[in-house]
Symmetry: D2
């Protein structure tokens, strides 16, 4: 099913709407005298089904969407309904190119020279269990954040939250047996992603460095594998931050990045946290 087809307003309906609207005062279009420009004005928290492109495939999901434009100091208000019209009219699956296009269309339709577009959604990847090879889907929280400035320059930020297992080196070292371990979130944020860097690339980097990666479906031989793998590969919250940061720094598609690790400690009721912000080997 394509959610967008039924949403394309028919030309007849549109012109009827225009006729009716013209008789009604357009308060938003009036002048403002406070001499204060607005950095961002728009809609926030709009839930919308979206299709995300991945290597020729398409992943269907549901996004929370925020859209905004800059507003000149002498304009009273933005025409909020146009944001929703632009979003509804966008039929293409989301990849870097179509996201840029949606951003540009939004700014043009709102008669603005600056704008931002953000989508947050769960993203599903088919994973293969390490020993038995059974497959299942794992879910990752993704945030795409685009901005166009007055010069027309567009940047696209990409953030992925990758859930993994972390196992504590101190607990392993000081205990006769066992070691506390827990679910952790590796949050990777790339501010201005180069073409060719997409969601799955960031997921792969985070999972490679973790004590172990996660799966929705593990049979007993797989469970034995991930248990031993994590015990063989203990990492502090600091270690995981450093190892992921090093991997991002080596990646030619990454300019500026932020790595955040949050361990939902199995021995405490709070989290351990580490953060590294850095720059890749690319220079702009």
């Amino acid at each position: 099913m394509n959610f967008r087809d039924p949403l394309a307003a028919s030309p007849a309906a549109s012109s009827a709407a225009a006729a009716q609207s013209s008789a009604i005062p357009d308060v938003q279009a009036s002048r403002d005298s406070r001499r204060i420009a607005i950095d961002r004005v728009g809609v926030k928290g709009l839930r919308h089904p979206v299709r995300i492109a991945r290597d020729g495939e398409v992943v269907t999901t549901v996004a929370q969407v925020d859209m905004s434009v800059g507003l000149a100091h002498d304009r009273k208000g933005a025409h909020m309904s146009r944001f929703v019209e632009v979003l509804n009219a966008h039929g293409a699956a989301i990849d870097a190119a179509s996201f840029r296009e949606l951003l540009a269309t939004m700014a043009r339709r709102l008669e603005a020279d600056r704008g931002t577009l953000e989508m947050r959604f769960p993203y599903f990847v088919t994973k293969t269990a390490p020993v038995t090879g059974v497959t299942s889907l794992l879910d990752y929280d993704v945030r795409l954040a685009g901005a166009v400035d007055a010069s027309g320059a567009v940047t696209i930020g990409l953030q992925v939250v990758v859930p993994v297992t972390s196992l504590c080196p101190c607990s392993k070292e000081i205990s006769e047996y066992g070691a506390h371990n827990q679910r952790s979130h590796v949050t990777l944020t790339v501010d201005d992603a180069r073409e060719g860097l997409w969601i799955d690339d960031l997921i792969a980097i985070a999972e490679r460095e973790a004590s172990s990666e996660l799966y929705a479906l593990l049979k007993r031989p797989d469970e034995k594998y991930v248990t031993e793998r994590a015990y063989d590969n203990p990492k502090f919250v600091e270690d995981l931050a450093r190892d992921v940061a090093a991997a991002l720094a080596r990646d030619a598609r990454v300019r500026a990045y932020k790595v955040e690790i949050e361990n939902f400690e199995s021995i405490h009721n709070h989290s351990a946290y580490a953060c590294i912000e850095g720059r890749g080997t690319v220079t702009a």
Copy 2:
């Protein structure tokens, strides 16, 4: 894209897994001597893409899924991975019939005589603005909760949260002009839905009784319409609960129902709330 195809484990992979598993102790299958049966054991909070049937159409969305079975007093544990296998293998779009089938398959695969299955997801409906006829999607939170008992009897509960506008009759009556209004949630819960009652039916009942219904996209003539419509149609939280309850009581497909109204008061930082539980005209 069909999320389920890549997940069907190949027969080869499955038999390899079985061979490897047989060498590893099956702790869950061992006997338990505490003589305490477990009401529900399973997986909780699994995010999964699902397709929901609607009048020949299919709506794609993302669900949070909980699955459980009853466990006999002498069985140590449930085989948790089987829940995920059953969910992955379910290819059909969700309607009452396929939801029942998934529930039955789950109980059989887990060798249980009782089980529950719950899915919570946003659900999208194309709405048409009241004057200009422009279309947009509105999102509703839905909960499907099925249970199969030891006799094989299946019940399916259906819950929909319908966001609407409510306008306060007291504020309108006592004020020279204006009236406070706000977004409200009408939560309809039907415990054992008869065939033929589906999500859109409950949405229609709630929206008909509200001060006004909501839309993602309204042009100025529409905004004038919904403003005046709400002012002409003021309802206390009690009124809306009573009017929706009366409509459910008249519906031949409804046995037991619960109506909850929550008004996110625009003049307070807390909600007004009303709840009516009742029985429809149907008798079992």
Copy 3:
């Protein structure tokens, strides 16, 4: 500081308010002709500082409060502001007796013969680390839910979410070394708590049965202790549910109970869950 003192409206202010109010129509007090009684109507999600009694001490915290009464079929609406007045006027620290009193006052002030009162709040307990004896606070989510019915009978339900460590027996058994473990929530719900059963009693029961309890502050000798303790004490989600249920069933102060365990699995991105509902040795 006592939050309630400044809230006691002065007699002068109150009588002035009464005079002003009398000139304004009282829409809520008018008659309703739909012949539908309302089960619960009131306020929801009111944040309020509260003081909770514990063994002569008082714990200060912040609650989310819901208050409701039943409304006769011929009454148009409840006087919502009276709920807030009753809550503000309640100066005593919350224990079973003062909670009952608040419930009774609310019903009386709202001229109702039935009512419910619920408070949800974090609750802090000073814990002592198992080896070094250093102390720290641990936080637990608590829910107090009271109801008074038309006969004047009052029941008080008590729910506590106790965060603990769980360690998987299957993972321990099948692996050469290590075992996956994670934070888990033990949720204990007692429907009609007898006098003498209070929050700390339920916490103690849950912590005693867990693979290990949690602490905000552990020095290295303590970390060694809790790591080894959990490895020596593996429990499936089913085991923990059964052991806690058995402890509740033995407790003379417990009539009906529900035990829920949710393990935030360190090897999956979803939870394992088990639930047992039962009755204590007490008969009513």
Copy 4:
């Protein structure tokens, strides 16, 4: 009750702990060779009762606390338990001075030259209804965020979310009667607050500019007042952002600020949003 007294570890317990710890390897203190410094490492999401100072008074509440320090490239890990010790030992009510002191103590105790401290908590203010003068508490979400850098310079950021009523000027203008209105959040963020600017000052600025302020308790004459007040004072999301920004720009205690407005639209299921970032009249 003072939460902190029971937490002060006795000298005897501390020296016993030190003796036991010395026999156990200190993994965190070992050297790291990856040559990557860590920007922030610490604890996150620790719930803790706190007391907030206000004009000689003290408001008791519950905070979520995050604490971090910078870690040199050659240090393996931070001693996480020390964060909790420092927090527990802090007995003074929180004002700008004691918050700075806690930040400095934390950095010193963790042997770090940089650090951050953040507390998020609900904050209660006694409000007086506009006509009848009845009093009630209103709750505001507050965030205090402090940072100390390598030069020892400390900045304290202050954020307050103020819930208010907004009424739509377009809806009022184009409709024969009524106007849609709703609860809105005014979020004020001041990056480096001057001495003398505290939570209540930001609340007052936001409430003054809103269509109407909120109260937990309103009698009928008050409800009439706030309904008419909002209708007389319509504001777009853009208007409210501009008016609050202008007020902050005039305030001599404000250097850099951000104003965000989110209207939970009563006619849509999404929010309208506006944001202005600016600098005050102060120059550093």
